[in-house]
Symmetry: none
Subunit: 551 residues, 2 copies
Amino acid sequence: ARPVRAPRGVELHCKGWRQEAALRMLCNNLDPECGERPDDLVVYGGTGRAARNWECFDAIVRSLLELEDDETLLVQSGKPVGILKTHPWSPRVLIANSNLVPRWADWEHFHELERKGLTMYGQMTAGSWIYIGTQGILQGTYETLASLARQHWGGNLAGRIVVSGGLGGMGGAQPLAVTLNEGVLVCVEVDRARIERRLRTRYLDAMTEDIGEAIRMAGTAAEQKRPLSVGLLGNTAEVLPEMVRMGFIPDVVTDQTSAHDELNGYVPAGVSCEQAAVLRSSDPGRYVEMALDSMAVHCRAVLDMKARGAVAFDYGNNLRAQALKRGVENAFDYPGFVPAYIRPLFCEGEGPFRWVALSGDPEDIAVTDRALMEAFPYKERMVRWLTMAEEKVSHMGLPARICWLGYGEREKAGLIFNDLVRRGRVKAPVVIGRDHLDCGSVASPNRETEGMRDGSDIVADWAVLNALVNVASGASWVAYHDGGGVGIGYALHAGQVTVVDGTDEAGLRAATVLRNDPAMGIIRHADAAYGRAVEVARERAIRIPMINRFT
Amino acid sequence: ARPVRAPRGVELHCKGWRQEAALRMLCNNLDPECGERPDDLVVYGGTGRAARNWECFDAIVRSLLELEDDETLLVQSGKPVGILKTHPWSPRVLIANSNLVPRWADWEHFHELERKGLTMYGQMTAGSWIYIGTQGILQGTYETLASLARQHWGGNLAGRIVVSGGLGGMGGAQPLAVTLNEGVLVCVEVDRARIERRLRTRYLDAMTEDIGEAIRMAGTAAEQKRPLSVGLLGNTAEVLPEMVRMGFIPDVVTDQTSAHDELNGYVPAGVSCEQAAVLRSSDPGRYVEMALDSMAVHCRAVLDMKARGAVAFDYGNNLRAQALKRGVENAFDYPGFVPAYIRPLFCEGEGPFRWVALSGDPEDIAVTDRALMEAFPYKERMVRWLTMAEEKVSHMGLPARICWLGYGEREKAGLIFNDLVRRGRVKAPVVIGRDHLDCGSVASPNRETEGMRDGSDIVADWAVLNALVNVASGASWVAYHDGGGVGIGYALHAGQVTVVDGTDEAGLRAATVLRNDPAMGIIRHADAAYGRAVEVARERAIRIPMINRFT
Ligand SMILES: NC(=O)c1ccc[n+]([C@@H]2O[C@H](COP(=O)([O-])OP(=O)(O)OC[C@H]3O[C@@H](n4cnc5c(N)ncnc54)[C@H](O)[C@@H]3O)[C@@H](O)[C@H]2O)c1
Ligand SMILES: NC(=O)c1ccc[n+]([C@@H]2O[C@H](COP(=O)([O-])OP(=O)(O)OC[C@H]3O[C@@H](n4cnc5c(N)ncnc54)[C@H](O)[C@@H]3O)[C@@H](O)[C@H]2O)c1
């Protein structure tokens, strides 16, 4: 056990704020308040790591401490491998995580390399040092469910029951996201400790080990249109089929177990959490077989619920593809959450804008919250979210906030924050980043790019270009990963983080990044023939040579 | 038919030399002198294209013509998809070609997308606009043999006899590559027409149909340390075993028949070229059996020669794997050319440095050749190559040159060229680039990264980091591709091109790129535990956080 916590305050340990920000955000990813298993350097999402091992962590810290303002640190799957002299406008850190040559990009080869100490799993914001605890996923899940509620029931989830699985790093946001939408959740989780943790942080309202009790509690609350979340200790591959057998069909069914990772993320039916840990190392081959079999059973139960009237959707954990491997031919009969609820936002350049107060003072976040509400009073959903978040979301690690902003808005917000730093309205520089799940940054045919209108789901040039554009625009650090939520070989994606320290240069760089990064989302969707994206490009004069001209 | 030819001379059509260079190099790739099937936009290597289609080509040209000095054009698999405002230090063009999400990265999915008009094959230097004709393969073969000579005989092949097979598209470079190294070659070729063609272009010195005569000629020349190349009409699977029986063991044995393709590439023993053509279509099954049997015989002869003292290596034609299929258990007892002869160069940061005179005047290349010979008089191999190239290599398209330079040398060469432009010693700016096959830019387990010491053959983070570093360092354009010579899904690689126009800024940018780009090769090989790379990093103060420190 080696607790890590980001330094707070205005004192620099590094030679510039961009290096300092990278240092603090790396540490923050491993803050016990924030990351899932910091002792193993695991931040979230199965085995998403911040650094390959502790030796690498120490070397990254050392490197950041000595890094000059015109130097760039290279990080290869969580290991610092080089320091190069570049120039002041280029990123201070460049990161590539978990990338394999496609023909060999699968878990088997990945794990073999991992055992040899040659790679690590970067997930999305773990290896790119911009994880902000469960708030990120809370907000995303809140938006997704709100969008679902609008489509199916005209506004909220009052009186509706949602069934899901997993209360891990991201899945743990589900209870609060559902109750914030006024609905009822039964969430199946195999690990008692995870349930207890969510009870402690009051994201989750109640716990039971009894399926009948869970159903009764949910039914009563739904009848009374009272928000409620219940953690049900159990295995999804056992509980969901049992619910179907019992004739219990929820209004909504989804899942957030780590089904994308059949060895480390998903516990097979009939196996306890502890037994799973043993079997995983004693007979990994058998473990994987069992896990995949269970996923097939699990997925079939979701399909059964859908057949009997539930709204089913996939929350990006690759359960459908895993089940398909095991012969569940109709696994893809229910949609992913992106085409169903998120893509319309992508066409506006909307995405998960997030920021962190390096001062460590929650009041700084309150100041930024108010500034955004002032700047965008017409963004009703954002205002409602920020008001709620200020009240209910406790900070984990460095104080942070997330809200979805579109093209133009992100740039404006960046400049507002830079100005707050300049004027001393916030006490230290602010870090601005985003999830890799964004409008123009990812190629992931089972999630973000599922069912693209032109059939370009598997084209990955866009993710590459996004990484290159963010470097070219002056981001503070840029990352490019294989994997993430859907597992090795199933997604490629880029991330950027930009620091505003109140200087003109920082403002200009932030504005450039925060304009170009979402522009790529609009370009990508316009190229794929989404009419709204073409429209936005025209309205906002985003230049797409074969679609529009502005001369 | 729509002939394209790059503009020549000092007059700008674009708003800056970087845009102009991109424009000219794009056109040059399609120059009928240079590219293979310019009407289909195919430059080389199967279907490696410069642009997705003619409409895209026109749109790229238009975009480059209007592109400002602080704007960046995005090219997605040969289609221009966006123009973004970045900043003066960032690249003018960012290119991503043929990239697919790994799980789907195979020919079947690629061709489906290609039919839909959603992608194109970028090869290495086709889609990244830095192809310079067949000079590349000649120099690469020369360099491989020079490296072999250095390892075994301290410098050149004088007095040494090489035996090889194949005088086809690439193999036809062997005779000149051997004689440039002052050695003697006996090259067995089954097709008389191929031999005669190489005699006509004077790549090959002599021809015979008699094995005894070939051996006598070779022996005499070797004794006199006189360079000589002899084309021996015959079949490798007959001639090589016969040589062994006769007790003739060459100093070096390799092969460039198209053994990788058992139906269309390799002629079985006992069959003439004409008979082969007939049998191939009348009984392809039998043909393949016979070809594989012959390859086993051929490979055993190579092994016999090796056992009796010859230096044997594979030139990437897959003969070893084919023979292994036929039970030649020890086929892999001799190494591939990359691990054996190229990797040691990679450990020095050496790679295929190439440049192009935008003036269009061959005299400009002569000036740069002389400048390099003056700057690096101790680089014997390079001097010998440049002297010969000046004499024997005719330009295809814009005048160009290639030679392998190492870490430090590339940077120095870039500054020298910039200075030549500044002083008007060359008439227009010079384009400096390289093949994607380079020390730190590629992940390709069947070629460039075969048999890495630490087992990291399939790790692709390095190619990603290379692309990002080149953007961060100020290259004029940067490309990142899937595919190339080994096919979709089998390799990922990055390329950079930098233009020197005589200004200080261009010099600084070129120096930064040409220092950092090969530095990544040294870093990659040092990380993989190659002692020489670790040494070079120490000698040249290349900072690798977990290997060395310089503070
Ligand atoms: N943006 C998105 O697309 C998105 C958002 C949220 C989550 N996800 C996906 O959801 C998954 C979960 O993410 P996470 O960070 O919470 O992962 P995690 O590994 O931290 O948590 C997974 C949880 O599932 C539990 N679990 C595993 N197998 C189970 C089973 N059979 N029955 C019941 N519980 C079981 C584990 O005990 C653990 O608590 C991932 O695949 C992630 O990629 C995607
Ligand atoms: N960088 C690299 O990895 C690299 C470089 C050069 C060549 N290669 C490999 O070398 C091979 C040759 O390339 P190419 O472009 O010259 O191919 P090619 O098909 O144009 O030429 C092959 C030649 O071999 C001759 N041949 C076939 N079978 C024969 C036999 N049994 N005996 C004698 N001659 C025979 C053919 O007549 C033909 O002239 C390919 O497999 C290629 O991939 C690899």
